[in-house]
Amino acid sequence: MSTLEGRHLFKQFPGTLALDDVCVSFESGKVHALVGKNGSGKSTLLKIFSGAQPPTKGEILLDGKPLGFSGANDAINQGVATVYQELSLIPILSVTENILINRLPRKRGLIDWKAAHRQVKELLDHLGIDVSPSALVGDLSMWQMQMVEIAKAMSRGPKVLLLDEITSSLAKHEAELVFDLVRSLKEEGVVILYISHKLDELWKIADTCTVLRDGKTVGCVNIGDTTQKELVSMMFGAITIPKRPDDLMVSDEVVLQVKGLSRADKFQDVSFQLHKGEVLGIAGMLGSGRTELLKSIFGADPFDSGTVVFGGRELTSANLIRMKNLGMALTPENRKSEGLVLQAPISENLCYASYDNLSRNGFMDGRKQKKYIDRQVEGLQIKVASTSYPVEELSGGNQQKVVVGNWLNTQPSVIVFDEPSRGIDVQAKQQIFRIIWEQSRKGVSSIMVSTELEELLEVCQRILIMRGGKIKGEIKPDQISNEELYALCMGGDKL
């Protein structure tokens, strides 16, 4: 039997204390779940155990012996293997090559393929994984890849196995198969740590559950002795949702209507209305289809059936440029890869969406362009010495403001904000929220999506619940608590 221990772990990041005197202990033969909301410190704790980051203070011990890692590879050599949600497998190589990468057996200097396949076959048989060693990983389905990933970790004979959100991209029945495998690993005498944001899974897979909040351990319970409701309240504690200003007016006028919109494998039969000046939230976990829905409404991605009624037109196909001209805007989920041209100047990044308005007969109107740039830099308080600097030199919050400014310059009537607060600090978040409210006062409607559901409660006047590609309900923020909203999005029927 082995035990993995963390003693008085601290982790200091600039501005935040991610781990604050965390003491934990996990023994082998059980699956230990680790839960907490975003920013609770669970990812940091995992990174310290996996050797990806050292703690600022404190130590980790395996069977009473202190562990010191000089990197993730070193961790594997010392018996700690990690399986991440983003698969680390190489699709164009075979299962054997992926599992034995860097360690393929050799005979007279050349790779001994026979021995390699045999070795992997034995491992897969032992773990009860029904996959051919010579199959290409790229040909496998998602859950099979996840199993191969686990087999790869197990092939190093680890004492500790860290599983990070391994079911996040799997369907329910596929996840069950992976659970079977994980349960069987308990017999191997391995300490298994399981991280997930899908709370309902825990009763199927975990034996104990450790809850982190604001960098501290809130408690450790036997999963059989607790309920989802209890866990959620441990995760969140008593939080107060800041009030949104009460001078925001919603008129009865409908500006956008989505009717029965569907896209295969992404979202089905989505219908809702958006009123003038309204701030509508869409709450859903990762993979619920929310981003895909927004992109299809905006015309950036196609849809299969249904219609979007906007700007006096009933649209049956996706066309981004048409939507833009009708007055819709979208600030994308990932500002670096979808919202900005990083090496281009701030000034250009503020104008991309309005090139049509800024040019006459194909020639750019320099004076008008300057007016557009100044308007946003002042209005959004973008902190910058010169707008000729590349936008990549700005902080995350200011970059996000540039993305918003690019679209405000088109003077839209509906703005879709996909994760507007991702990766920016608290103050910048509040500034972004104020921008959304300011637009609402001007009669501009917004749709907002955020993983941080408490933000939706703070910012929006009405929230749609999205789960598994479908709209599952509609709530008003003052009728529901943060925990209840999380439970609704995670599909917790147990509340």
Partner: protein
Amino acid sequence: MNKSGTKSVTAFLGRYMLEIILVLLFIIMSFSSPAFLKPANLLNILRNVSMTGIIAFGMSFVIIAGEIDLSVGSTVALSGVITALTAGKLSASGGMPMESAVILGMVFALLASILIGIFNGFLLTKFKMPSFIITLGMMNLLYGLSAVISGGFPVTTLPSWYSWMGAGNLFGVVPVPAVFLLITFVIVFVVLKYTKFGRSVYAVGGNAESARLSGINVTLIKIGAMTIVQFCCAISGIMLSSQVMSGTFTFGKGWEMTAISAVIIGGASLSGGKGRAWGTFLGILFLGIMSNAMTLNGVDEYVQYIVQGALIIGAVLINSLLDRKGKL
């Protein structure tokens, strides 16, 4: 204070590196070779760089958009062959005198180049094929096509006035191709800097997905860039056939390397989003002056290849070093 002073000197050197090198090269050459500074020689340099230079300006759009065109040399050959063949065939059949038939030939050559550009751009945007592969294929395809339609021989059915475009001089001094080069420079400078199309080319090359999500028509911009460079090739090809008074399928071989080199030396990046018309112009002059300098100093032709190759690698090395410094 001192530190920021050094910093601004480094920044200045980085920004005007090419200008400084060109001036140094000029000074060294005027001392080492008396023939260099003679007006006739300088005009000669301009004439020599004009045809590849015009293509380099077209190539600037393609490279800034994050693409590449390797087929430019073959279009140069094809344009000359089409022009000469049309002139020859039409006048032989008695349809019209060769003097005017050659104009029709030039129109055909220009139209052909536009179609080739649209075709390249179509494959690129519709099927998401890499432009490297498409134009690698087109390079061979068009070369073969020129050889087949010309029967493998130079086509020399051209009227005597035609030589003016490649070999003539404006006001008796300025080579006509150099005039075309300067006109192209001005147009490309204005288009890249002051038009919606030009700005969109930078956006698409910088981050095509961001550009698309901002409502920029990425497909149109890419097809446009691929077509412009081909059009430039046809202009060059016509001038080359005029200079030699023949349309020959082996013309333009290897020109893609000169054109791409000029753009890269001018500070553009093959990953797109970066590059300037002025930079390309300096790149063109730099290559031309280097080659002229080596010829004047009696450097062996094959050694010139070695130097040119080393220069390209050196230019890219300096650019990536400057880039890395900027990041730190």
